[in-house]
């Protein structure tokens, strides 16, 4: 273990070394975005030339792009010149103990049953060097390395696995893909990198949660996961506990590449600050996530539970290029108070005998607005492609909204595309029935909503599913009655 120890200290010290504050000051760029800023970011991270150029290309293109307006969301204009694009490694003032943390936040942690040490971490309170997850994470990392699996921060990968990064970066989501993806490509700070070699089945769920430094990176994250032939990996992103974060705009990019017979399972629980009950504050979450089933018989599954953020704009998609490849999208999106979500998926069928499944569950409460937007595209050569889409919306109260925008484009007559949609309201009958059996109203709502989401939850890894259920209950508190 002694070899691991300096590592732990390194991790911890990135956050809280004494006297570090002055260093940070000098390390933070003034707000604004131009080519010099991008060159500086790239230089500070010691990036190779190709990456600097790639960022610049993205930026030049981004300058010519306009904000997308097609989503069913409303928000005030964002001043992109008012954001500081480099602040290493963390500029926000940290509370010294849990006593300094918003009691409301602590109450939520308690309800979710989060251990005290983890609460501190999530709330940004200094943690002791002896913190279980850190040593656990390091032990895991050694075990993974033995199998040839690379799991590290994106910055580390750029320096140590340059060739892999160069080959796959932007191969699924190009640096000019869309407004937010281009912005991310220009300025991304850090993120995660996973590489699973041929015929290796990753023995554990990979989680950013275990990679503590990553849990604290923010605004412009970039993730790249590569699964070689016949490999398997399950990746968990996020955490059920609401994280404290002062960056209002988040624009992440995730790229997945699955080669022949490889399988990637990507699960997300997103619970960023949603804003208060009057709709003030809250994170704007503009995410581009896309997976490429590059090889034959490849499979990519997205499972997401989205309960946080003031605005969620997110369409985890699959390009089914390899023959017989499979894409799946399972989603629960909950909007309460003034939250807005416009989320869904794109299933692009290119190869023959490709199959996709879309199960989307939208829950709206209070004034929440929830839209499903999905594209199923069957290309000309995609013989015998199949898609099944099921879109269900649940309304709680009479001031919220649910919207469904399915787009279906079929260019091959052998395709089979099914779309089912339903909208229902939590019935007073259901609530009364449960309460007559002794359940409190909150427990009854939570039970009915969890029942509604069961099809999606069963796709989540076990512990995640349990947490997600609790999370829905907490997120819906006070939404009825």
């Amino acid at each position: 273990m002694s070899a691991i120890k300096p590592k732990i200290e390194e991790l911890i010290s990135q956050e809280y070394p004494a006297g570090f504050v002055t260093d940070i000051e000098s390390d933070t760029l003034p707000p604004g975005l131009n080519e010099d800023v991008i060159r500086t970011i790239s230089a500070k991270k010691n990036e190779p030339h190709f990456l600097t150029e790639w960022r610049l290309d993205a930026f030049r293109h981004w300058q010519k792009m306009t904000l997308p307006h097609w989503a069913h969301i409303k928000y005030p204009a964002i001043d992109f010149q008012a954001i500081s694009y480099f602040s290493a490694p963390k500029k926000q003032k940290q509370p010294e103990s849990l006593d300094d943390v918003d009691p409301e936040l602590l109450r939520t942690y308690e309800k979710l049953g989060i251990p005290l040490e983890e609460q501190k971490l999530l709330a940004g309170v200094a943690v002791d060097a002896v913190f279980d997850s850190v040593s656990v994470a390091t032990t895991f990392k050694d075990k993974l390395a033995e199998m040839g699996i690379i799991f590290c921060s994106f910055s580390e990968a750029v320096l140590k696995h340059t060739e892999l990064v160069q080959r796959y970066l932007g191969s699924v989501v190009s640096n000019r893909d869309n407004f937010y993806a281009a912005l991310n490509a220009a300025v991304f700070s850090d993120g995660s990198f996973v590489y699973v070699p041929k015929r290796v089945r990753c023995p554990m769920e990979l989680s950013t949660y275990f990679r503590i430094n990553a849990a604290l990176t923010g605004q412009f994250e970039r993730t790249l996961i590569i699964a070689e032939e016949r490999s398997y990996v399950s990746y968990l992103e996020g955490c059920t506990a609401p994280m404290r974060d002062e960056n209002q705009l988040h624009a992440a990019v995730v790229e997945l590449v699955a080669l022949d017979d490889a399988q990637i399972k990507y699960s997300t629980v997103q619970n960023w600050y949603p804003g208060d009950a009057e709709g003030r504050g809250g994170i704007y979450n503009f995410v581009t996530k896309r997976g490429l089933c590059k090889g034959n018989n490849a499979k990519i599954s997205w499972t997401q539970v989205e309960t946080g953020s003031a605005i969620t704009w997110k369409y985890p998609s699959c390009i089914l290029k390899g023959d017989n490849s499979v894409g799946e999208f399972y989603s629960v999106a909950l909007t309460n108070n003034y939250q807005q979500a416009d989320t869904g998926t794109k299933m692009i069928h290119v190869g023959k005998n490709t199959r996709s499944t879309i199960i989307s569950k939208g829950i709206s409460a209070a004034q929440g607005q929830n839209a499903y937007r999905g594209l199923v595209q069957i290309h000309q050569r995609a013989d015998n492609a199949r898609n099944y889409t099921q879109c269900d919306s649940l309304l709680i109260g009479d001031r919220c909204g649910a919207h469904t925008f399915p787009y279906i484009e079929v260019r091959n007559s052998t395709a089979k595309v099914e779309h089912e949609a339903s909208t229902s309201k939590i019935g007073e009958d259901q609530l009364f029935y449960c309460q007559q059996r002794g359940l409190s109203q909150e427990d009854a709502v939570s039970m009915i909503v969890n029942g509604f989401c069961k099809q999606v939850f069963k796709e989540l890894p076990m512990e995640f599913a349990v947490e997600a259920q609790k999370l829905l209950g907490v997120s819906l508190e006070g939404s009825v009655g």
Binding site: D429, F432, Y433, C434, Q435, Q436, R437, L439, N450, G451
Partner: protein, 264 residues
């Protein structure tokens, strides 16, 4: 009020959507008794059952209800349930994605907590459920299906009786538990109710038809019409009703109205 009574209703008036349905009900029920409340459609039988259970939208405008010596109307729906008031529904609602066994466990633990008992662990709980299911002749496959989803009429009613037998209420109100059942299913349900009769427990059977009372013998029969109890008697009253129909009672009702006006 009467110290021995489990439930005491005095001069109960209630309305639904602004329309007066119950217009002065008086009824006293003691532990160990079985009461049948009969009456034609729209007489207020089901409204009475739902008012007792505390259904939102059913508003009490006058009168009092005491249950176990406490003011029932000041308790929430779930508090009433936890204190042993159980309503078997005429139309049990479906809850997609929620397994029957999950609801049963949540309900039982809510009631046990109120009684100061420990929550049952999964093993003990399943053992108890399986025992009760065997007694009621319910196949255990029903446990893992979603609550009432795709259940036949008979299965729904049997499921209500199962919940009742697991929750061991002090006051069980059965709202038209016989509706939509064929004779075999009726016997099973009646048999289930009979095994739950005890000196600790009162049962109120709300029914339109007399035939259920062939299988569950009530101690008292009350006839409800236009929101009032117009006649009370022993089990023989049900037989007279069977013979003469509700028309006979309506005449009695008319006579009552013309002679004594308001019935107290």
């Amino acid at each position: 009020m009467n110290q021995n009574s489990l439930l005491q209703i005095s001069n109960l008036h209630a309305e639904v959507e602004g329309q007066a349905i119950l217009k002065g009900i008086d009824l006293t029920i003691k532990a160990g008794e079985v009461h049948a409340i009969m009456g034609p459609n729209a007489s207020g039988k089901s409204t009475l059952a739902h008012v007792l259970a505390g259904r939102p939208g059913f508003e009490v405008t006058q009168g009092e209800i005491y249950y176990q010596g406490n003011d029932l109307l000041s308790l929430t729906t779930e508090e009433r349930a936890r204190k042993g008031l159980f309503l078997a529904f005429q139309y049990p609602v479906e809850i997609p994605g929620v397994s029957n066994v999950y609801l049963l466990k949540a309900a039982m633990n809510a009631v046990r907590k109120e009684r100061g008992q420990q929550e049952l662990d999964a093993m003990d709980f399943l053992e108890l459920i399986r025992m009760r299911m065997a007694e009621l002749g319910i196949s255990s496959e029903l446990l893992y299906r979603n609550v009432n989803e795709g259940f036949s009429g008979g299965e729904k009613k049997r499921n209500e009786i199962l919940q009742m037998s697991v929750l061991e209420p002090q006051l069980a109100i059965l709202d038209e538990i016989d509706s939509g059942l064929d004779i075999d299913a009726l016997k099973v349900v009646a048999n289930g109710v009979n095994t739950l009769r005890s000196s600790e427990r009162a049962i109120v059977i709300v029914t339109h038809y007399q035939r259920l009372l062939n299988y569950i013998k009530p101690d008292y029969v009350h006839v409800l019409s236009l929101g009032r109890i117009i006649k009370s008697g022993g089990p023989e009253l049900a037989e007279v009703l069977e013979e003469k129909g509700y028309g006979w009672i309506s005449q009695v009702d008319d006579i009552h109205h013309s002679s004594s006006g308001e019935i107290g």
